[in-house]
Symmetry: C2
Subunit: 224 residues, 2 copies
DNA sequence: CGGGTTCTTGACTATCTTCAACGAAAGTGG
DNA sequence: CCACTTTCGTTGAAGATAGTCAAGAACCCG
């Protein structure tokens, strides 16, 4: 999931497993903290997230990190390039995953519907990544954080007590590495949004949208 | 083409047309300045570049622009998402393009080899975009420009007079919008590289690599 | 040659980062 | 369950990197 602009096409991706094969492999359960694969690993499987949250990351030799995406229910992760994984992938929130053989993507393996679905997931991925380029290359810190909150709320927010709220299972550092900022800047931006009463911070990992419209405006570049 | 880190997998992509169908459509010729498609257009065709250079861009309402990629020979452009194009695409240098029906990607249309090739191109695209995230999110101006020059030289550089050189058909503004910088910063960074005798600028659009190793080191984050 | 665009350079500014300190939260072991 | 340790988040002050604004130079095209 590329948390980018609020109109993100991926926001409404299916949350139910893709077309079932007669030879469907059972769902896998994974605990938070465990790794699904590492950069350089040979790709054997793709996974569709059916519950929980994944984190896809890349590292530079000197330790700089980029969070490539968060994997939410509906997302497919593990697309190969030259047969290999190009990110690390670990579990942020206990997850259930539906595995699909790599061959299912690459030659259909006798299930054209599933083949198509996996291809469409890859194409959605490309489009979502293009949106994210704009985010990383051209948006200010506050626009980035506002966009992030808007998209995440749209996709996995819940209505509680008349307000819409969203759970952030990832750390401030993860958000920073996703948006191309530092933890300090992310933290300061949250504080700024809280002080201007656009959001409320229930606990560190739960954000309440107090003025969603204002947040949306900020995400689109309106000056505060 | 995502001009990112020098070891970019896409650097050695095929420069010859993909597997030929019996019903291959003739190559198209397009003049510099013409548009291939616009954001929102229905996707009918994918195109493999066989000569020339394309530019893929996205715009924000307020005019901010992100160059998503440059399309060099070997690259495939025009992958659909929800059946639509998600960038504009225009021609920087007179181009020859091999069109493939969208259905060739999406269901193979009786040519499994071509179907596979197009899918592999899409998967390479995803991987290359992941590299570019690191570039946009985590690299400094000089690292970005150095990486850009290294990759472009590796891919389309020529050996002339004992030195390797590369042609930059795009404007400084294009480079800036690709790297998430301003024209001024790109220009200043070129000047800085020229003054430290790492590159020479033959004319505005032709860069000579004087100390390629130093440039590579800079691209990887070594302090000057 | 002339006019418009693109590129470069300078001075100044803003934004974001860095470094540092502190407080809150979460994990660990007795 | 509590004390201890460690990690994570927030905040402040200072600094650096890249952006903005403005002017002039180089380049391109008819």
């Amino acid at each position: 999931m590329y948390v980018t602009i609020p109109s993100d096409q991926t926001a409404h991706a299916s949350h139910t497993p893709l077309a079932r094969s007669t030879s469907t492999i059972a769902e896998t359960q994974l605990k938070a903290g465990s790794y699904l694969y590492f950069e350089g690993d040979k790709v054997e499987w793709l996974y569709q997230v059916t519950a929980g949250v994944l984190r896809l990351t890349r590292l530079l030799e000197d330790g700089r990190r980029q969070v490539i995406a968060f994997g939410y229910p509906g997302d497919v992760v593990g697309f190969p390039s030259n047969g290999q994984h190009h990110t690390d992938c670990d579990v942020l929130v206990d997850a259930r995953l539906q595995p699909y053989r790599r061959s299912m993507l690459e030659n259909g393996d006798g299930n054209p519907t599933l083949h198509r679905e996996l291809l469409q997931a890859a194409l959605r991925e490309i489009s979502a990544m293009q949106d994210h380029f704009m985010m990383l290359g051209r948006k200010s810190a506050i626009e980035k954080v506002a966009s992030f909150l808007c998209v995440l709320t749209e996709r996995v927010g819940q209505d509680i007590g008349g307000y819409r709220q969203v759970d952030l299972p990832m750390s401030r550092g993860d958000i920073a590495d996703f948006l191309g900022l530092t933890t300090e800047t992310v933290s300061r931006t949250f504080t700024q949004l809280r002080k201007s009463k656009i959001i409320a911070i229930d606990n560190i990992h739960t954000i309440i949208m107090v003025r969603p419209t204002a947040l949306l405006a900020l995400s689109l570049g309106d000056r505060e």
